[in-house]
């Protein structure tokens, strides 16, 4: 380890599987689904009536008056970030605020605030539009609120790269610490857009599962019966810290963020490159950045969202960039697809897989696609010694991010 190495010293999350990291991880290892029916009246007219809804509503954690000023995506980002902060032991540690940065993004942002306020505008006129509307819907809102709460003064950054956002935010945090601009970065992603309009938009693209009668079976990456992704809401946050800084204060270290690779397809606004060329380059760069070779990567937490078009290209990519040996999984089979938060939540799963020497399962892989020629931890968690693991995230627009975590 060198002084510019970056390690993970805090984790936080609120997800469809649990209101914190421990409950979410327990649910993953048990192979539980967080996908449930949408019971609101507005859902009746939709073709998609299921989602990964938060296990713990933010209103149970944040008081009513504060919630008036926060978009749901901001509220859950704050919850996850504060959990990660508390977990890191940095609270009250005397960290210089000018050495603390935030890198936190969202795929879609405060769209639900925009839509709700538009309803008010139409029904009651412009004077009734909330003065909190703009800070609630602005895409930098979650990062900004975290920065205010933690008094981060080394810069607050907001990623937006669709479903790669959470991982790209971690990659930026790695760059910030390596470049010496901060000692600690709170990084992650958040998403909360379970609302008829985003659901209808994704459904119109025919990108979503309509397995409304069997919600827990709807997210089934690599299975022949997969018919689209299931939208999830949630947030994941990680505290990244310069290694020597963490050691000096005796911090508990989960893992090292050893490398990142970012590429873009330059191909299509929504379709992934079928040969995963951009993904292969991202994975290769991440492995090289970590100073490793493909043979070192024992496990991959795949992007695999359960869409007919997307899942198999990544399989080719992993074979090409990593090899045919890693044990892979898609935790989206349980959480649903948390869009801009996916990369953060799945990084947390990757880190805990290293810590606990276990690969969380891919549930619902009952009838694997004939082209699936890699070893998936299907149905049940798989014990595995993992010295290095990778997390992949790909996003609409052709964003590809691969992160490599290693055991410390």
């Amino acid at each position: 380890m060198s002084v510019t190495d970056v390690v993970v010293t805090g984790l936080g999350a609120t997800t469809p599987l649990g209101g914190d990291v421990a409950s979410t991880w327990d649910a993953m290892l048990a192979g539980r689904s967080g996908v449930t029916p949408l019971t609101a009246e507005w859902a009746e007219q939709l073709t998609v009536r299921i989602a990964g809804q938060l296990a713990v509503d933010p209103s149970e954690v944040i008081d009513r008056v504060r919630m008036r000023k926060l978009d749901r995506s901001e509220a859950i980002a704050l919850i996850a970030a504060k959990q990660a902060w508390a977990d890191s032991g940095l609270e009250g540690s005397g960290l210089d605020p000018e050495r603390l940065a935030v890198s936190f993004g969202s795929g879609i942002g405060g769209a639900v605030t925009l839509l709700n306020q538009d309803d008010i505008l139409e029904a009651s006129g412009p004077r009734r539009v909330s003065p909190h509307t703009v800070p609630m819907l602005m895409p930098n809102g979650p990062a900004a609120w975290i920065g205010i709460d933690l008094q981060a003064r080394a810069g607050v950054h907001s990623m937006a790269s669709a479903c790669a956002t959470g991982s790209e935010a971690l990659s930026l945090a790695l760059d910030i610490i390596r470049s010496g601009r901060a000692d600690v970065v709170v990084a992650g992603g958040t998403e909360a857009v379970i609302h008829p309009l985003p659901l209808a938009g994704f459904a119109s693209m025919r990108a979503m599962s309509t397995r409304n009668d069997e919600p827990e079976k709807a997210s089934r990456p690599w299975d022949k019966g997969r018919d689209g992704f299931v939208m999830g809401e949630g947030s994941g946050a990680l505290v990244l810290e310069r290694y020597d800084h963490a050691v000096a204060r005796g911090a508990r270290i989960y893992a090292r963020l050893a490398g990142a690779g970012i590429t873009s397809d330059g191909f299509d606004i929504v379709q992934p490159d079928p040969d995963c060329k951009g993904g292969i380059r991202a994975m290769t760069k991440a492995i090289q950045d970590a100073g490793l070779t493909g043979a070192d990567i024992a496990h991959v937490n795949a992007h695999a969202t359960s869409t007919p078009a997307g899942d198999m290209g990544e399989i080719k990519g992993i074979r090409a960039a990593v090899g045919d040996h890693p044990v892979i999984t898609s935790t989206k089979s349980m959480s649903g697809h948390l869009l801009g938060a996916a990369g953060a939540l799945e990084s947390i799963a990757t880190i805990l897989a290293i810590r606990d020497s276990v690969v969380p399962p891919t549930i619902n892989l009952d009838d694997p696609d004939d082209r699936l020629d890699l070893d998936v931890a299907a149905h049940k968690a798989r014990p595995l010694e993992i010295a290095a693991a990778m997390n992949n995230s790909f996003g609409f627009g052709g964003h590809n991010v691969a992160l490599v975590f290693t055991r410390v």
Binding site: R64, V65, P131, H132
Partner: protein, 80 residues
């Protein structure tokens, strides 16, 4: 016509709803920002809610003069 006490009590309800202010802390001499911690955006919400509750129009250029609860009570009393 509402009395000053009734207007103060109505404002206290609004302040509790919008800004989480304890109704027992609301009194005519209290400053919205310094004593009751109502931030500028929440103050806009208070004004709009007060307009509805008391049937008054509070012009934006008047809002800056409403420093205390008593200022707001006097304006509402004189204009509703």
């Amino acid at each position: 016509m509402a009395t000053r006490e009734e207007i103060t009590s109505g404002l206290a309800e609004i302040l509790e709803e919008v800004a989480g202010v304890n109704p027992e802390d609301v009194a005519e001499e209290k400053s919205f920002t310094d004593d009751l911690d109502v931030d500028s955006l929440s103050m806009v919400e208070v004004v709009v809610a007060a307009e509805e509750k008391f049937g008054v129009k509070i012009p934006d250029n008047e809002v800056q003069n409403l420093k205390t609860v008593g200022d707001a009570v006097s304006f509402i009393e004189a204009n509703h």
